[in-house]
């Protein structure tokens, strides 16, 4: 799995931090940062939860 942020879409709602704090952080500009773009299998469910939780559809997950 690969994950990244579409910075054009991210509005800094931080829903991803809530869903998967081990995978995402928020930068000083309030745009999400991916902490681990290739998460291990045991974090895939959290990554999908973050994808679904994002109000602006700004998380890109390639499986």
């Amino acid at each position: 799995m690969k994950i990244r942020i579409d910075e054009e879409k991210c509005c800094g709602y931080a829903a991803c931090l809530s869903a998967a704090p081990e995978l995402f952080d928020l930068g000083d500009d309030n745009i999400a940062i991916v902490l681990n773009p290739a998460p291990p299998a045991d974090q895939h469910a959290a990554a999908r939860e973050a994808l679904a939780a994002c109000p602006t559809d700004a998380i890109v997950v390639e499986e």
């Binding site: 800094g12 709602y13 931080a14 809530s18 704090p21 679904a52 939780a53 109000p55």
Partner: protein, 407 residues
């Protein structure tokens, strides 16, 4: 695999309804999926309707929940402009306004909620509610030529609308029946911070008084208050809360309380009928009692869980246990996690209540029950895990709980 000749009928092209359809397909469901909605508009996101969508010249295409091609590609049939008027739950039949009925193997009820209105005679031109895209388009046009805006109800819809109207330079008054605006929503000190935010941006907030009527010849000209005052207005916005859209389910055979009563997997009292979103009352993780949650994120999560549970009934899923919502007012991001109602104590863990940004935690008994912040997403969102595991108050705040408070 069981034969599913009729497939799933989803009532409501809401975020919950579309999430259910999406989850069905993602979980390998290959029977027909039909999503019906009374409104003849493409499925859209509602949170921006009281925010960006009120800005002049907003491009409403940006509100689409999915690109149009998504529905064809996923073989999800949209039946827009088609109103469900009744449900025969035991027979799995949905009655439509044209007199026909849809048969289903499974039914998802995601009809959402309807805004409270004034009596019909007072819903004059110039009086607005804000729930759907057509509502937002009408209000945006009214704001384009409006001057004096009066908002009934200081909840989040009222507050966001006030912020949008002030950004346009309009004169804005909020009328709130409670003595302290926002207090019932977020507790005393955060409520004062929100109230100050609005007053600092030039909003007049009248408290402890309700709207009794809207007056005008042919269109709204003034709002009459319970204490006899009259506020001149050319745009009136009602932010008086919502009621779950379940009146059409009377006589359906479903258990209905404040919304459709469900278990933690979204199953109603009748097999193969599920509910998700604003009209669904899933058990509150804190109390176990049925409770509706009117948040976008919860609707999305409940819809996704229901879709999963229909496709994979042997592997039932519930939703994350901590409700989340956000608001944007004057460029300030406002966020909430968990349970903010009736706290025993509220304490800042970042910044302070008088500052432009803060994050605060809410206590129930000796546990952390919720968190709320202004402009402090980074400090707030990591608190979710503490709320989820009911972390001891002392562990998160470093403060002891007053004697006798531990439940």
């Amino acid at each position: 695999m069981t034969a599913r000749p009729h497939g799933t009928v989803i009532v409501g092209a809401s975020v919950a309804g579309i999430a259910a359809a999406d989850a069905l397909r993602k979980n390998g469901y290959d029977a027909p999926i039909r999503v019906l909605d009374a409104q003849p508009v493409m499925p859209h996101n509602k949170p921006p309707l009281s925010k960006q969508a009120l800005e002049p010249g907003h491009d409403d295409a940006r509100l689409a929940l999915r690109p149009e091609s998504y529905f064809a590609d996923a073989e999800i049939e949209l039946m827009l402009g088609c109103r469900a008027v009744g449900l025969r739950a035991a027979e799995l039949l949905v009655d439509l306004d044209d007199g026909s009925a849809l048969a289903a193997d499974d039914i998802v009820l995601a009809p959402g909620a309807a805004p409270r209105r004034l009596p019909a005679a007072q819903m004059l031109p110039g009086v607005h509610v804000l729930r759907s895209l057509p509502d937002a388009v009408a209000l945006r046009r009214a704001l384009d030529r409006g001057r004096r805006v009066v908002i009934g109800g200081c909840g989040f819809i009222g507050a966001e609308t006030a912020a949008a109207a002030r950004k346009r330079g309009l004169e804005v008054t909020i009328v709130e029946i409670a003595p302290e605006p926002f207090r019932a929503l977020v507790g005393a000190q955060p409520a004062r911070a929100l109230t100050r935010l609005h007053r600092d941006h030039g909003v007049r907030i009248l408290t402890g008084v309700g709207v009794t009527a809207v007056a005008g010849r042919g269109r709204a000209e003034a709002v009459l208050l319970a204490d006899g005052r009259q506020l001149p207005a050319d745009v009136v916005v009602l932010g008086l809360g919502v009621v779950p859209a379940v009146e059409w389910l009377t006589g359906s055979g479903l258990a209905i309380g404040d919304g459709v009563t469900c278990d933690r997997y979204g199953r109603s009292s009748v097999p193969h009928v599920y509910a998700a979103g604003d009209a669904a009352a899933w058990p509150d993780p804190f109390t176990g009692l049925p409770g509706r949650i009117e948040h976008w994120t919860t609707a999305q999560q409940q819809g996704a869980a229901v879709g999963h549970n229909i496709a994979r009934p042997g592997d039932l899923q519930s939703v994350p246990a901590v409700p989340y919502f956000w608001s944007d007012q004057y460029g300030v991001r406002i966020q909430s996690l968990g349970w903010l109602d009736d706290p025993a104590e509220i304490l800042c863990v970042h910044g302070d209540f008088g500052a432009a940004e803060f994050a605060a935690v809410y206590r129930r008994g000796d546990k952390v029950a919720g968190a709320f912040g202004l402009g402090a997403a980074r400090h707030l969102m990591p608190l979710r895990s503490a709320i989820e595991r009911r972390a001891p108050w002392s562990e998160i705040t470093g403060r002891s709980v007053p004697a006798g408070a531990s439940a």
